[in-house]
């Protein structure tokens, strides 16, 4: 659900750290009708112009705190990502993205559910890799966006 609007159209920008472009970021919403306890948030399938950026190079910013890795997010059992709020996804990619329009593939993974499921033990041991539909809530397919890189570079 909300497939076309999960990434804010004018939010893709490069990120600069210590004077060099270290990657890019964009703003997104929850692909469901409810928020989630942050620990359940399991990362993203992110593909830009055919290159896939795995969970290990992603960080997530919400609730006015600095960007955190998904290993750290996993421990946030008493923090909530509210439905109304945007989160910012940071991707480590030295040099960042080139100017112009990029084709971005996106799928969120949040391990919320309607109750105990047969996959529970397996997902504790091996959290699903985002992009296979696991934890994708009401958006089972990968959504594609044509996003223009903003001229401003964010400073971290």
């Amino acid at each position: 659900m909300f497939d076309k609007w999960l990434i804010r159209g004018d939010s893709l920008e490069n990120v600069e750290r210590d004077g060099t472009v270290a990657g890019f970021r964009f703003a997104c919403r929850i692909a469901d009708y409810r928020g989630c306890i942050l620990s359940l948030h399991n990362g993203y399938y992110i593909e830009v112009d055919g290159t896939v950026y795995p969970r290990e190079v992603q960080r997530f910013q919400v609730n006015g705190k600095p960007p955190r890795s998904f290993e750290e997010i996993k421990t946030c059992i008493s923090e909530h990502w509210d439905f109304d709020d945007e989160g910012i996804v940071y991707v480590e990619a030295p040099g960042g993205l080139g100017p112009g329009v990029h084709r971005v593939g996106f799928q969120q993974s949040i391990l919320s559910s309607y109750g105990y499921m047969p996959t529970d033990e397996e997902w504790i041991r091996n959290p699903p890799v985002p992009g296979q539909g696991a934890g994708a809530g009401k958006t089972e397919q990968i959504c594609y966006y044509e996003l223009e890189l903003q001229k401003e570079t964010a400073k971290l």
Partner: protein, 351 residues
């Protein structure tokens, strides 16, 4: 008399696009001439499960401003929350107790639970009684009122709970409590492909004739493989046969008469609907062609039901493949639903 309300879930798209805030929604429901409010806790409560005092005051003040009642709060249970182990049933009960306290803080009468195991419900029951918040399990597709294990196991996104109703009633009786019950979702009375889903499928290449044929064959009792075969025999291409049969799969097939057995345990009802359309020849009157409301209302009245039915609009999702200007109008759809629900209440409760 059965009372009307709205689950603010119905306005999820308006909320997503920030076109309606909580107060706008409550005001709209008030203008429907009813006083019932239902919410999804994690959709509306900022920093769930520990909202600020300021949030709680504003929430209660807004309801008071429009003379509304906090009927049911829908809560969830995420077994993977701790990420280093699957939540135990004791931890599940603790989360439910936390939700009960939160529900009480906000003034709710009932909590709607999904996959909370019955033993966790029992552990939380003393808190439900202490805080005077009733806890009810939702009877949602694919579940049924009478046990139906085959049906309950057909869908992969819900935990299997074939004996849901029996377990709840047994617990209520054993504990002699009025604080546990069930919350039926009207979706269990769906009998054909919804208008919104039909339109979505056709936009994505489905064959309208095959979809209509699937509905007719379903009504004659054909299911799954037998339904696909029957469509093939009628000359529909393989893809059309499979797609159309799949479109009929998400059903409970509950007999409305079954409601009579559970009326005393019903805490509130989800008035699920997908698409309201004007009744041909009856200007200003609307119907939900895919879900039977008439017979269930008859049996709810016969059983003496006096609680709330809260509209739960879900058809907006089916139009979200379209552009912004072609999205469904949630406000209008809920208004039309209330026309139908109000009319049926008048038919049975005032007859």
């Amino acid at each position: 008399m059965m009372k009307r309300g709205v689950s603010l879930y119905s306005y999820q798209q308006e909320q997503f696009f920030k076109r309606m805030d909580f107060r706008d929604m409550v005001k709209e429901v008030h203008n429907l001439g009813c006083d019932g409010i239902e919410i999804i806790d994690e959709s509306l409560i900022r920093q769930y499960p520990n909202p600020s005092e300021e949030f709680v005051s504003r929430f209660k003040d807004t309801l008071a401003e429009f003379g509304m009642r906090a009927v049911t709060m829908d809560v969830n249970m995420d077994p993977l929350l701790y990420r280093d182990h699957v939540m135990t049933h004791k931890e599940c009960a603790d989360r439910l107790i936390q939700d009960i306290k939160l529900g009480a803080r906000l003034g709710f009468q009932n909590l709607r639970l999904c996959g909370v195991p019955i033993d966790a419900m029992e552990l939380a029951l003393p808190a439900a009684e202490d805080y005077n918040v009733r806890i009810g399990k939702e009877i949602h597709v694919p579940f049924t009122i009478r046990p139906n294990p085959e049906q309950a196991d057909k869908h992969s996104f819900m935990p299997s709970q074939p004996y849901l109703c029996q377990e709840v009633i047994e617990l209520a009786e054993r504990k002699s409590t009025r604080h546990v019950g069930v919350i039926p979702d009207m979706g269990i009375f769906q009998h054909r492909i919804s208008g919104s889903r039909f339109a979505y499928l056709v936009r994505h290449g489905a064959n309208p004739g095959a979809l209509r044929a699937a509905d007719r064959l379903y009504a004659r009792g054909l299911r799954q493989d037998a339904l696909v075969s029957a469509l093939r025999e009628r000359g529909y291409p393989e893809q059309d046969a499979v797609t159309s049969a799949q479109a009929t799969a998400f059903r409970s097939d509950v007999d409305p008469r079954d409601l009579l057995e559970i009326v005393p345990y019903i805490l509130s009802i989800h008035g699920k609907f997908y698409e309201m359309t004007e009744i041909p020849g009856a200007e200003g009157q609307y119907e939900e062609l895919s879900i039977d409301y008439d017979a269930p209302f008859y049996y709810l009245h016969k059983g003496g039901y006096e609680g709330y039915i809260n509209s739960e609009y879900e058809g907006q999702r089916d139009a979200q493949d379209r552009d912004l200007e072609h999205l469904a109008d949630e406000v209008e759809q809920v208004r039309w639903h209330h026309e139908m629900v109000g009319r049926l209440i008048n038919t049975y409760w005032h007859a």
